[in-house]
């Protein structure tokens, strides 16, 4: 293939281009005249168009744009997910930042930027594009995490969170890069496709010490970004310190995009065929499931609980990924994709509920703040409960279908030990999810003064409603999405 690009190549890139355009316009807009609502509107519209573009392109697009990006059903599906997630978070952050003093507009800029990074990551099959996407997103995230910093009355510790995230993720990136360098040194290429088999017959899968060490370095870096145990320590602090929308973004898009890239890398280069890598991934999965759930067990801070539970969920996802190595067919990739989708939906929902009652001045992120919510705001509580039950993998919710998928993948490839751990983990998980639910069911003693929801937060309620619908519909009738994913996943595996 050539490095040159034709105009026709631009069409598949539309999602990326559109979101980039959005950012540029928003930036100019801010430069000309600060207007909160308008900036938000631009970002939202831009992301919507990008999402639509991805949706339109999805049915029949499968092209390698330069060696860097591959735009196929799989990447487009996740481009769509990323855009929508970004969109929702943008909508949610509108009321959240509403009361923040000045300079509120740039936040949407950062969301846009991060989204670009995410889009690049999900469609990258080259180390360069992976690095670009990843770092674009990370840079934006630093900004988002530290965002409320400039105004006096901010409850949480954005600074601490930002610094921790900056230093650690930079270190992680360095480790990842070193792994890339080793692989490059071993095979002489940076493209996944040629990593699998190159002219010199030096493949990643060849399992020479260089490639093994390289893959392990790479994995460590990725494991950090996915906050898999034992690389998870940063997660709760950053989640807690960051403003809710940033946390939501980090937790959803940040994780999802990274995982998609990982899937692509593994699937194309077949890195799991290295025995040691396979077993290491397996151990990562087990450790994440157990440690994540155990850490969340008696945690009282909602954000931290979700942080820990995300660790566990990444562990669950790894099971499906490992399964993809054992069996033919696309089932396990489907499982990964569906679970990611489910994970994004329910995590967004959970953070969304928290953010509609919170503002940048006062966040309600201690589970005790939600006592009696069921009797104060039944619908909000119902949504929250649904999200938590979904995270716990109870039927009628998308989370159950996701878990079902993972179980099936695991069963297909006979990963009994991992499945056992999964059962154990879920058992522990139930405890802390139900703890929150129980708080909401408690009779109301004294009112917790939530942020009074003005007209500006209507949209975010709308978002929650949509997420709830998705949760239930996909939980009860997932067939259409399944067929879509089946065809998308069949491109790999």
């Amino acid at each position: 293939m050539t490095m040159t690009m034709t105009w026709s190549d631009l069409i598949p890139l539309l999602p990326i281009l559109l979101s980039t355009g959005t950012v540029v316009i928003a930036m100019l807009m801010i430069g000309i005249r600060r207007h909160y609502a308008l900036t938000a509107a631009i970002t939202i519209i831009g992301l919507i168009t990008a999402a639509i573009a991805a949706l339109v392109l999805m049915p029949d697009t499968n092209s390698q744009i330069t060696p860097l990006l591959i735009i196929d059903k799989f990447s487009l599906f996740f481009s769509f997910v990323v855009c929508i997630a970004g969109l929702f978070i943008a909508i949610l952050s509108f009321p959240y930042l509403y009361t923040l003093g000045d300079h509120r507009e740039e936040f949407f800029l950062l969301i846009g930027l991060a989204t670009i990074g995410g889009l690049v990551m999900v469609s990258s099959n080259h180390f360069v594009s992976l690095l670009l996407g990843l770092e674009t997103m990370s840079m934006a995230l630093y900004g988002m995490i530290a965002y409320p910093l400039h105004c006096r009355d901010v409850s949480k510790y954005p600074l601490e969170a930002a610094v921790k995230y900056l230093v650690l993720s930079a270190a992680a990136s360095a480790i990842m890069l070193f792994g890339m360098a080793l692989l490059y040194g071993h095979t002489g290429t940076l493209a996944f496709s040629s990593l699998s088999e190159n002219s010199a017959g030096l493949a990643v899968a060849s399992g020479s010490w260089l490639s093994t060490v390289g893959v392990l370095f790479l994995l460590s870096g990725i494991a950090f970004k996915l906050s898999l145990a034992p690389f998870h320590l940063w997660t709760p602090d950053v989640y807690e310190g960051a403003p809710l929308p940033a946390t939501a973004y980090l937790a959803t898009v940040g994780k999802a995009a990274m995982f998609v890239a990982l899937v692509r890398f593994i699937e194309i280069t077949d890195a799991l065929s290295i025995a040691s890598v396979l077993s290491v991934v397996g151990l990562l999965a087990m450790a994440s499931m157990l440690i994540g759930n155990l850490l969340a067990l008696l945690q009282n801070n909602l954000k931290r609980i979700l942080a820990y539970s995300s660790i566990a969920h990444m562990g669950y996802l790894l099971i499906a990924l490992i399964a993809s190595y054992f069996v033919e067919g696309s089932l396990s990739i489907e499982a990964v994709s569906f679970y990611l989708l489910a994970y994004v939906i329910m995590t967004l929902g959970a953070f969304g509920v928290a953010s509609v009652v919170s503002s940048s001045q006062k966040e309600f992120d201690v589970i005790h703040d939600y006592r009696g919510l069921f009797w104060r705001q039944p619908w909000l509580a119902a949504i929250f409960t649904a999200m938590l039950l979904s995270l716990a993998g109870i039927p009628l919710t998308v989370g159950f279908i996701g878990k079902f998928y993972v179980f099936f993948a695991g069963v297909e490839s006979g990963l009994w030990v991992l499945l056992g751990t999964l059962v154990l983990g879920s058992g522990i998980g139930l405890y802390y999810y139900l703890r929150i639910v129980f708080r909401m069911l408690m009779p109301i003693k004294e009112q917790v003064a939530y942020k009074e929801a003005g007209i500006e937060s209507l949209t975010s309620y709308g978002v929650l409603a949509i997420l709830f619908l998705l949760l239930v519909v996909l939980g009860v009738y997932p067939a259409p999405v399944m067929t879509l994913l089946e065809s998308a996943a069949s491109l790999m595996g």
Partner: protein
């Protein structure tokens, strides 16, 4: 003159990388921590250059450029945050940033 063998270059890069790591671990002054991160990143860059030299293709150099930009950006943001830290705590010791735990 004969080219430097691939392994040697890699070993140098590795040593550099480890130095960076040691720096990050041992330093409590956040400025030095950032510098150590730079060292790590540059170690990667070196590794890429060595690889490029081995295979005689440009990808390595391209990657190095990317790494430079990345490092620059990291530092930019990092320094911004350091200023904030200094404003608040009048110190640049990283251990002041330990209010969240458990």
């Amino acid at each position: 003159m004969s080219p430097i063998p691939f392994e040697h270059g890699l070993i140098v890069a590795g040593i550099l990388f480890c130095l960076g790591i040691v720096g990050v671990l041992t330093r409590r002054n956040i400025v030095f921590v950032l510098m150590s991160l730079e060292v790590m990143l540059n170690a990667c860059g070196l590794a890429f250059i060595v690889g490029a030299a081995r295979w005689g293709n440009a990808d390595g150099q391209v990657m190095f450029l990317m790494i430079l930009t990345l490092a620059a950006a990291e530092v930019a943001v990092g320094l911004g945050l350091i200023i904030q830290i200094y404003r608040r705590f009048h110190t640049v010791d990283i251990n002041v940033l330990s209010q969240m735990k458990g």
